[in-house]
């Protein structure tokens, strides 16, 4: 967590946040920060699929085949993820 700052929110909201944060094993600060960061990821009304890619490696992209998976299923899945994560 980065530098903290103080904000004022309504008491009942703070209490609800405290309960939910505890259920997730988070501090209230971490919980509220997480909620806000997720909501900031899209503009209001934006309809998008957010595709996060943290793999920085050259070479062929290949997903693992499930045990007993037929070619059709595997190729269909491969095509989906290739579309999402293909580079260049």
């Amino acid at each position: 967590m980065g530098v903290l700052t103080k904000v004022e929110i309504e008491q009942d909201v703070a209490e609800a946040a405290e309960l939910r944060a505890a259920a997730q094993g988070l501090t209230v600060s971490a919980y509220i920060s997480q909620l806000l960061r997720r909501s900031f990821e899209r503009a209001p009304g934006e309809e998008s699929v957010l595709v996060y890619d943290h793999v920085d490696e050259p070479g062929a992209f290949q997903i693992d085949r499930d045990k007993g998976e037929d070619d059709e299923s595997y190729h269909r899945r491969s095509a989906l993820y290739d579309t999402l994560f293909r580079r260049g």
Binding site: S33, F40, S48, V49, L50, Y52, D53, H54, D66, R77
Partner: protein, 139 residues
């Protein structure tokens, strides 16, 4: 090692922050694979909180009931978000419950992955824009 259909804890990234997210969160593993020397996992975000804009649940969310969630080792009902998907290196900074090549599995449902993948295809066909949140481009 985990596989398609497993629920695992993950420091799922944020759009505006470089690297792994700051806290662990349950995700649904859709696939594992290899690129060059890197093992990766493709995971869908899950959440117990969504905004209902109107009477209907936004179509990117697949609801998992409390009873099903308990079967899957979760405490409460949740949603799998077909509109947030990440490809992440299989390392402890992204998957904090890894020890060596082992990881704690919090549930498994391979059929749910198929449903989420189908929903993702529907979203793309319906015109949802694919927004690449590319950690590599930040370097």
């Amino acid at each position: 090692m985990f596989r398609r259909g497993d629920f695992v804890l993950c420091n799922f990234p944020f759009r505006e922050v470089v690297g792994p997210g700051p806290s662990a969160h349950v995700v649904l593993c859709a696939a594992t694979g290899q690129q060059g020397n890197i093992r990766f996992a493709i995971v869908f975000y899950t959440t117990s909180q969504i905004e209902y804009q109107g009477a209907r649940r936004p179509r990117q969310y697949l609801f998992v009931s409390k009873s099903k969630a308990i079967e899957l080792g979760q405490k409460t009902a949740f949603h799998v978000d077909a509109s947030r998907i990440a490809r992440l290196p299989v390392r402890t900074d992204y998957f904090p419950e890894m020890t060596g090549s082992a990881i704690i599995i919090h549930g498994h449902d391979a059929e749910l992955v198929m449903k989420v993948e189908d929903r993702l295809r529907e979203l793309v066909r319906a015109g949802f824009h694919l927004t690449k949140v590319d950690a590599i481009a930040w370097k």
